[in-house]
């Protein structure tokens, strides 16, 4: 088969699968699963093929929105190192998660819906990866949003799930508002929506630095929403209402990374833009990664802990984009993070299954002997995440922190501190869940999950360990070989050990409840409450006000008022018809008088 068709097949196969499942197999659980997995596998296979033949370049485009001579938005694919790597990551992980889901979702009523949505997501995600222009990226950007909305709301009967889905979509829309506006500004300045075109004509904009800054920052809003950076991070923890595989695929490994990927995609623009842009990005990332870490330390829901950790890690990547001279640095961390965070989530998933959909870590405990395999994987993932030397996270995270050190000392210390937090809450998780005595009957009788779930775990565990080795990463990234300053190594190692020690100190004796309580962290700095207040009071109040105005002023006073006036006039006029002949004669005479005066003497 002509390899030039590979990207198209990769892109559209999932869509076809989604349609197929939705239309033909609305009741067939097994078949739906098979179709879904097969599709994912196919895309994965083809992605590897594409990855392994770098000379393959596709220039063909499908015209989508085309106004001759004025404006054209094609559907086209761009195949460079960036998208090749991303393709591989996405499809591989997706395949594993698809398989894992078959086990995790067993017995669920909405399996076809689930797989259809997963396929739709895969389609959209691949669209983002392959997009060769901004509008196309925006299209799939929206589509991943909606598929995430559907998947988070998979258990739609649960009010919490329904709300979470809605919130995720809306928060992303807020981000996309800025994103699209940024796209519009860049288009107006460069006259093109193609990434290539924008980069070529960028010189035109540099005359208006302010304009360019605004444009870049607005585009960055897209990242804020999609990659859950402060202050738009609130939706990601709530999205944990969705099934765990979804959390691992969308909300840990791939979708949330799309924001970073987008920044990497427009990296040249960011470089060309004034320094301010990258400073802002850097600070946002730094703050996010630290604050999210703080919040993670006080969560009790196993998935929420991981969710905050994801936010924090995304923060690292954003920093990486801002501080590193090449986008590969951030992409490298995205790459490794995808594997180990996905792994962690899948472990959490199997734990949750084992304890009958219990997610509160304070009802678990002592699972190490009962499900050793899962525990092993989880440890691997944790070590990778905390950046233990020899594990993938070590390489990628250190690189970012190193560049941060080069760029800005404060940011360096913040990121280092975040590393400390990371190791603390991860080991806290480990100790509370696996260490000591079970804290409930479910935890008592927990047992290792079936093979269909454990096999993906093991594969991912391998990846999580090995993905960082230079021997591996050199095939994927062209990383700069700068000498990493010792201070960085020292600080990070200290952070790791410090976190571990602190966690062990507090939780190794497996207390029944959390010995430390920091309401500020537990309540996520009350940011969510602030947003709730804003939506309820601000938006709701404004809405009610304007509705009142519409009802009583515009409609009531103006429209109905006018009508009433006419009606009343008629009512008054009719009472001139007294029915009395003498009165009529008088009116007649008066009329004559008026008329004659008007005619003769005016």
């Amino acid at each position: 088969m002509d390899p030039h068709l590979y990207p198209w097949i990769i892109l559209f196969a999932p869509l076809v699968a989604a349609g197929l499942i939705l239309l033909l197999l609305p009741r067939r659980n097994a078949a739906a699963g098979v179709v879904g997995i097969a599709t994912a596998a196919l895309t994965c296979l083809l992605s590897w093929k594409v990855f392994l033949q770098p000379e393959l370049a596709v220039t063909a485009q499908i015209p989508w929105l085309d106004i001759p001579g004025v404006f054209a938005v094609p559907i086209g694919v761009i195949l460079d190192d960036l998208s090749r790597v991303m393709l591989v990551v996405v499809t591989t992980i997706a395949t594993l998660v698809f398989v894992y889901s078959a086990g995790y979702m067993r017995g669920d009523e909405g399996i076809p819906r689930y797989y259809a949505a997963l396929c739709l997501f895969l389609f959209s995600m691949l669209g983002i990866v392959l997009a060769d222009n901004f509008v196309m990226m925006y299209i799939f950007w929206e589509l991943v949003g909606v598929s995430s909305y559907i998947l988070i709301g998979h258990y739609y009967r649960k009010d919490s799930a329904a709300d979470a889905g809605k919130q995720a979509f809306l928060v992303n829309r807020v981000g996309d508002f800025g994103f699209l506006l940024g796209i519009l500004m860049l288009w107006l300045a460069t006259g093109s929506v193609m990434f290539s075109g924008i980069e070529q004509n960028l010189s035109a904009v540099t005359l208006h630095p302010g304009y360019l800054i605004a444009a870049c920052l607005l585009v960055f809003c897209g990242t804020l929403g999609k990659s859950a950076q402060m202050p738009l991070h609130v939706w990601l923890p709530n999205s944990m209402e969705g099934p765990t595989p979804v959390s691992s695929l969308l909300h840990a490994a791939t979708m949330v990374a799309a924001g970073v990927y987008m920044l990497a995609r427009i990296f040249p623009v960011l470089l060309a833009a004034p320094e301010v842009v990258r400073d802002v990005i850097m600070w946002v990332g730094a703050i996010t990664c630290f604050a999210a870490g703080l919040m993670a330390t006080q969560q009790d829901d196993i998935k929420r802990i991981l969710a905050y950790s994801t936010i924090s890690q995304l923060g690292y990547m954003v920093v990486g984009i801002a501080v590193a001279p090449v986008n590969d640095v951030a992409m490298f961390h995205l790459f490794t993070h995808a594997f180990f965070k996905c792994l962690l989530f899948l472990c959490a998933g199997s734990v949750i299954i084992a304890v009958h959909h219990e997610q509160d870590i304070w009802k678990m405990g002592g699972l190490l002997p009962r499900m050793p395999l899962t525990a092993l994987c989880l440890v691997a993932g944790t070590l990778a995440l905390v950046g233990c030397p020899g594990f993938s996270g070590y390489y990628s995270k250190d690189l970012i922190v190193a560049y941060a050190h080069g760029a800005n000392t404060a940011v360096f210390w913040i990121t280092a501190g975040a590393a400390l937090l990371t190791s603390f809450y991860m080991f806290r998780l480990f100790f509370v869940v696996f260490w000591g005595r079970p804290r409930g009957s479910h935890a008592e009788h927990a047992k290792q999950s079936p093979a269909i779930m454990t096999i993906p775990l093991l594969l991912l565990a391998v990846a999580a360990v090995a993905a960082g080795y230079p021997a591996v990463s050199k095939h994927f990234f062209a990383l700069p070989h700068g000498e990493i300053p010792h201070i960085v190594h020292f600080a990070l190692l200290a952070a790791l050990l410090g976190g571990l020690a602190l966690a062990a100190l507090l939780y190794a004796r497996s207390p029944m409840t959390d010995p430390v309580r920091v309401p500020l962290f537990a309540n996520r700095f009350y940011i969510d409450n602030f947003y709730d207040w804003l939506v309820a009071r601000g938006q709701g109040g404004l809405a009610v006000l304007s509705s009142w105005f519409d009802r009583w002023i515009i409609d009531g006073l103006v429209v109905t008022g006018a009508a009433r006036t006419v009606w009343a006039t008629g009512y008054v006029l009719r009472f001139l018809q007294l029915g009395n002949l003498q009165a009529y004669a008088f009116f007649f005479g008066a009329g004559v008088l008026a008329l004659l005066y008007f005619l003769v003497f005016r």
Binding site: W64, L65, I67, I139, Y156, L181, L184, H208, L542, D555
Partner: protein
Amino acid sequence: MSPLLSLILIPLVTAAFCMAGSAPRRISLFGAAANLILSLYLLASYNIEIGGFQFVSENALFPAYGISFSLGADGLSLVLLLLSTLVTFAAVWVTPKDVKFGGMFYACLLLISSGAIGAFSSIDLFFFYAFHELALIPTFLLIGIWGSGERQRIAWKVTLYLAFGSFILLLGLIGLWLAVPEGLRTMDIRLLQQLGYAGLLAPGPAVYLLLLFGFGILIALFPFHTWAPEAYASAPAPAAMLHAGVLKKFGLYGLLRLAVPIFPAEIQQFAHLLLILLLGNILYVGFVTIAQKRLDLMLGYSSVMHMGYAFLGLAALNQLGLGGMALMLFAHGLTIAALFALCGEINRRTGTLEFAQLGGLAGVTPKLGLLFGFAAMASVGLPGFASFASEILIFFGAFGRGAVGGFNWFQTATALSLWGVVISAIYMLRAYRRIFWGSRGSAVNDDLNDIAGGTRWAVILLIAALLLTGFRPGLLLDYLNPVFAYLPQ
């Protein structure tokens, strides 16, 4: 007989048969289907290379005034004709079989349809106006007899409001006609457009404002919008589909037909006013929409809100904006029609549209939930639906009027309109979550039957059309682009 004439006459004749009596549903379904097929045939047989008005037929009625019954269709008309026939077919199809006074009900629907078709396909000013008025009385009857809630008060309000609007419009048209230099006096829209291009026709701002507000009232331009939501809330679902989906588009069509070619200068002159008003539509009405507690009212307000985007396209006055506007007429027509159809279905099952009493409906009627989900997503402008393509075009068109480095009126307006996209997501998702997700509402119980039969297929038809044109907007843009190709960039 010219195909367009038969396109107008088929509904009329069918309506007459319905009045006469037997099996009105079957007859009108047949008639609507025939019309749909005919309009598709017209689209197919329209020659895009040649462009311009085709299938033209003229017979002069009153030379002194230049009135002649002439029909013709260019790309724009054809797209709207397709919209009309599609929605009519769907509306007839979703009509409940047990509707009372069936004959008259279908007759009214078909009359509205035929009026809209006539307006879209006449190239004579007089009939362009007259055909639209044909729909006024059927609306009055539909709301007054079959409406819900305060049907009588609302029927009065709507009819009088629209009558008033169309008389303002009439004044505008008279002014336009009088502005034609003596000797060239004509009501032929093609000639008027030619004169407009040639700059021989300068009726001046007053006439433009008359047209803007005359049409504006019909389109529910802020602040003349208050008739619409109540009307759609009260009207029976098929009537709401036709009125919101097709009839309301007449105003925008008229602006595209007359204002754009003849009043480009005035549109520029009053662009700021227009921008302010349309922001009223998008933001102010958007917030009003958020505050609604009933689905039907919410949909009514949302349809008002979306008109704001169309006006944004008009204000942009370039090929992008106008193309997007034309595309939006089509997309929004189908979307709102589907939504109202489903709204009617929900009402028939649960007997209420109060969010407070609904909830968890998707568990009981999954297909209904799925279809509503599609329609709602189309309404919030999700990519893949024609709505998205049209909005994108409009936004790019309007923003394109901006200046690099600065941030002028158009850019500001576009930015604020973009926020409207967020607003529409807010209320649509909230409605979906309140009705279909979450825990069961008081009006929802297990023995509600899922959507089925004609309604289901009608809605699927509408959504399929939306998806098709969303994936390949070219299908319609190929017809629309030539219409605005003359515009300067």
